[in-house]
Amino acid sequence: MASLIAILDVKGKSLIQRSYRDDVPPSHIERFMPLVLDMEEENVQVTPCFSDEGINYMHIRHNNLYLLALSKRNSNAAEIITFLHRLSSVLTEYFKELEEESIRDNFVIVYELLDEMMDFGYPQTTESKILQEYITQESHKLETQVRPPMAVTNAVSWRSEGIRYRKNEVFLDVVESVNLLVNASGNVIRSEILGAVKMKCYLSGMPELRLGLNDKVMFESTGRAARGKSIEMEDVKFHQCVRLSRFENDRTISFIPPDGEFELMSYRLSTPVKPLVWVEASVESHRGSRVEYMVKVRGQFKRRSTANNVEIYVPVPDDADSPKFRTSVGSVVYAPEKSAFVWKIKQLGGGRDYLMRAHFGLPSVRNEEVDKRAPISVKFEIPYFTLSGINVRYLRIVEKSGYQALPWVRYICVSGDDYVLRTITDAKSSSMIAPL
């Protein structure tokens, strides 16, 4: 429950606000930023929820904005914080970018959305596709007055009736992102696979879909011997269209999909993974004059696969200057705003390895601060490949008109947000790196 929702700029000034209950006066919005600054001053952690004089402040950050909810009761913090995130994604879908300007320019719509998405402090409809059916940028004139879409209140609140496509198609993208952490001695100390099944659904009517995966638990429960490999998903999350009780009963994934693009499910595996793209760097630092890097990358996957758009971020001291790079493959740029240089390789073949060298000048005045020990982070994508071995066995589509529809499936493995290696070693003896 929230009494008031406001969107604030980076200085804490309210850009737009909507009060849902009278128990919290809007003047408390202005108190938010001073409170945050006070906490920072006193070295107290600014947490997403805090309370002051009986008012609870719950907020999230989006770019340079604060989305803030106030309440006086013991509200459901998880619900409100989740709602604020949902609000930011709905507004982003409406305006492409959610920023100060887009809110100012579209205040009428924002008010309408705030009115529709929350009532008396309780979240209502937050599906942006449905909202877009009756809250649009063009104002409605008397001739074509909109009505609430059936979907708003239907059991199937995510799909409208009467959708028609000339060609019925479904595209399935199985995207697995790998997060891992390699320590200085080269061992993987944490790894996880976050998988997602994304759908693009262009189907007419109200189709019933059933998705079959090589799910180990299902094979076991049905007593069927798995043909080929089966995988054990540790945790599965479904879009609200999936019937959870059926999944609980017999692991069947059955649903009526929303129209267009959406994420059907996500899953997680924490089976140990070996680093697909291995990077190590050796650094030779001469304080007060220069620092040199030698970076080695290796594609540790099958030869017939290729990693595309590989980007390797190697951290350098904040005050490094005059970069010089040498590499046999790809390109290197200095990204001072990230205190790193980026080695970009368009295509990295499996089993191949490459070297690059970098040289930076350092100011002769010593930086008093301690060196940051950021890890190397890597981005890449390997198409037609999944680490877990997940497999879409079938996708049945049944609609009462009996049309035939074609499912297309693609697999891709990408680096997650947190694919990092702490494999930067100090080259103590200068012999390691030949001068540039």
Partner: protein, 732 residues
């Protein structure tokens, strides 16, 4: 009052009354734009209201928005809008009907309310579910404004009927509205000064409690609705299920089984809502296999929450922290998922660190230490310090790993990074407290870092170590002498430690320390302006001069070892908080009564708690939270072994047991009095300590740092007695 015929408002007024529709629509937008940037537009009220009757939905919405914001300022003019409102609630377009009833029910004007009842009754039975779901929430709004109206028209009964509605969204909102009314009717006490005009609402304003109770048929309906509702509806249903008291074991089992599939929902609040329901009903369940399967199935969704947006992660982490205090086994093998990511926001890192320590055991400690050491070399000073402290906590928690921890700390001291060294010294002091005489080999290294220390806590810790091991440190008198030289400039905690350490030194090596002890007693009694330091010096002086044996017994007494507590809140409060999973209370780790209402703890709240003797422990704990602030000041005494003496003295007035007072009365020698005070709990029978100590310092025990809320990391508590508390509080 004639408005000036110029300026923006005059212009707007002209436009609002224009004969052209476009112009009027445009003007309304400008009014709202002005309102958005904070300009007062109340003066245009009648002109805006004139535009209410329109076929343009957007314009209607804006006028309604205007009304919502300004109805309070122009209560006498609101009546102008009533007609259109009532008409709109019967509009053929359901969107308009819903909009009208939704807006009408929030206008804070008595006059409107009188006209609201019959349209609302109509809308509650509207054929369109969109209108019904909107109307359902309106009942809660009306209850908020005028409870007697709800009772008079039987709206609450209608809401109950709506739980059986065919449409899940309507069901969800009916459940939400009932829960809201339930909460509101609980908080409105007869003497509530917030109630209109301070008058006591007539007795009819209270809905009969039966209406808000969930019975078995309702339960069945809720369980059906749970699978059909939208995500937000599920949250409402889950919170209501959490309020339901299962009649028997079978029912509790049934509820858990039906709720469990919700773990797979993508919405974090639904997952936490399901966890809450399970945590409440699991108490009744005895079947081993079900219990196992419930806890086993709870782990993966909790872990997955750690991959969500940072703010959601944080809410989840705070709740996981609570869950682990009750059931440490649920995530026993999952420590690695809580490893901090380099780019995690600081508030997430701190929570993760805390949970990592909770999950540490002999099997994973090696990995944990490697990770903590890595954190200790990051740049965020605050986080680095916490990481170093975490190493100390690990040592205290896992005896087998203590040696490794000390090793890591020594490596960190070698980095010579000032704040790392200081923190490490503080931490090592605690390791000494836990494992006395085990790692004396590190003392020389610590002493060699003496010059590096500039923070009081670190200094005090090192001095404590020197005093404690004075007999083993050859140049202890020299080292302590350097602190004595700067005695006047030091902060009080350091002074207190220096004083005690030198007295210890004297008791251990009386022949070499005669001079230094005289100097410190002189300095502390003459040149010090802290009464604490002075008083302590006087006590020592008297003890030493009259009865050195007693002095030895007091100053060199064996301290009980410290340990990491499993919980950070009192058991009764933990139970209460676990029933509130996902709420702010569970996120702050403090009961709702401490942060809602007026001020930090509404006095009326306390009164209410006191009247209802439902749960004595809980109540006690609550009051402890109130006393927390005060208690914390007491606990803020620096790390010191003899601080409890002080504390007992400062608390003496009210807290000395009758027995002690009696003995004091009998005794003629003032020193005997003192000895009595100290020795009764402390020296004679260490095993009896806790029991004797507890009643006298109740507020210092479990919940004392509760009211620090979400900002504090859990505070370890002492198992054996009051003595070591402040050391630890200083530490963590």
């Amino acid at each position: 009052m004639a408005a000036p015929r110029k300026g923006e408002n005059w212009e707007l007024r002209q436009q609002l009354n224009s004969e052209y529709r476009e112009k009027r629509a445009d003007a309304i937008k400008r009014v709202i734009a002005n309102h958005t940037i904070g300009k007062d537009c109340s003066g245009l009220f009648p002109d805006v209201v004139k535009n209410m009757q329109t076929e343009d939905l957007e314009q209607k919405k804006l006028v309604y928005l205007y009304l919502m914001n300004y109805a309070k300022t122009q209560p006498e003019l609101v009546i102008l809008a009533v007609n259109t409102f009532v008409k709109d609630t019967a509009d053929p377009n359901p969107l308009v009907r819903a909009l009208a009833i939704r807006t009408m029910s929030v206008l804070r004007a008595e006059k409107i309310l009188d006209y609201l009842a019959s349209p609302l009754s109509r809308c509650l039975k509207d054929e369109n579910p969109y209108v019904r779901k909107t109307a359902a929430l309106c009942v809660a709004k009306v209850f908020d404004l005028k409870p007697e109206l709800c009772v008079e028209y039987g709206f609450i009964e209608t809401l109950r009927d709506l739980i059986g509605d065919g449409n899940p969204m309507v069901v969800a909102n009916a459940v939400t509205a009932l829960a809201d009314i339930h909460e509101a009717s609980q908080t409105v006490s007869p003497s509530d000064p917030d109630s209109p005009e301070g008058s006591t609402p007539p007795p009819t304003s209270q809905p009969s409690p039966q209406l808000l109770i969930i019975d078995q048929p309702t339960l069945a309906k809720l369980l059906v609705a749970l699978n059909e509702c939208s995500e937000w509806g599920r949250i409402a249903v889950l919170s209501t299920l959490a309020r339901y008291k299962a009649v028997d074991v079978q029912e509790a089992e049934h509820i858990c089984e039906r709720v469990m599939p919700q773990f797979q929902h993508a919405n974090a609040a639904v997952v936490l809502g399901a966890v809450k329901v399970i945590m409440i009903h699991i108490k009744q369940i005895q079947r081993e296999d079900l219990l196992k399967s419930l806890t086993r199935k709870m782990a993966p969704p909790l872990v997955t929450l750690i991959s969500s947006a940072p703010e959601i992660q944080w809410v989840a982490l705070r709740n996981i922290n609570l869950l682990l205090q009750k059931r440490p086994d649920i995530l026993a093998n999952e420590m690695r998922v809580f490893f901090c990511k380099y780019n995690d926001p600081p508030y997430v890192k701190v929570e993760k660190l805390d949970i990592m320590i909770r999950l540490a055991n002999a099997n994973n400690v090696e990995t944990l230490l490697g990770e903590l050491k890595e954190y200790a070399s990051e740049v965020d000073v605050d986080f680095v310090r916490k990481a170093v402290r975490a190493i100390g906590q690990t040592a205290i928690k896992i005896e087998e790993a203590a040696e490794r921890c000390v090793g890591v700390l020594m490596e960190l001291i070698e980095t010579r990074v000032s704040y790392v060294v200081q923190e490490a010294v503080i931490v090592i002091k605690d390791i000494f407290r836990k494992y006395p005489h085990s790692y004396e080999g590190v003392i020389p290294v610590l002493c060699s870092n003496l010059e590096e220390l500039d923070e009081p806590e670190a200094k005090a810790s090192l001095i404590w170590i020197i005093g404690e091991y004075a007999e083993k440190i050859e140049n202890a008198d020299e080292l302590l002498g350097t602190f004595l030289e700067s005695f006047k400039e030091e902060s009080y905690p350091v002074q207190l430690q220096t004083l005690t350490a030198i007295v210890k030194l004297f008791l251990k090596k009386p022949d070499t320390a005669q001079g230094i002890v005289q100097r410190v007693l002189q300095a502390a009694t003459k040149d010090c302006d802290s009464p604490d330091v002075r008083d302590r010096a006087y006590i020592y002086w008297r003890l030493l001069s009259s009865d050195p044996a007693a002095a030895k017994a007091v100053v060199l007494s064996v301290r009980p070892p410290i340990s990491l507590p499993q919980t950070t809140v009192a058991p009764a409060i933990l139970e209460e908080l676990l029933g509130e999973i996902s709420s702010l209370a569970s996120v702050y780790h403090k009961p709702a009564a401490t942060f809602i209402g007026k001020g930090r703890l509404g006095a009326d709240e306390i009164g209410r708690q006191a009247v209802e003797p439902e749960d004595e422990t809980r109540e006690k704990a609550l009051q402890t939270v109130v006393a927390g602030q005060q208690a914390e000041n007491l606990l803020d005494f620096d790390a010191d072994d003899s601080a409890p003496d002080e504390r007992r003295r400062s608390l003496a007035d009210g807290l000395i047991s009758n027995q002690t007072i009696a003995s004091v009365a009998k005794s003629s020698n003032p020193l005997d009095e003192l000895m009595d005070l100290f020795s009764s709990p402390n020296l004679s029978a260490p095993t009896a300590n806790p029991a004797q100590l507890m009643p006298s310092v109740p507020s210092l025990m479990p919940t004392s740092n509760n009211n620090n809320g979400p900002m504090t990391s859990p505070t370890p508590q002492i198992v054996t007695g009051g003595k070591a508390e402040d050391d630890l509080l200083g530490l963590f």
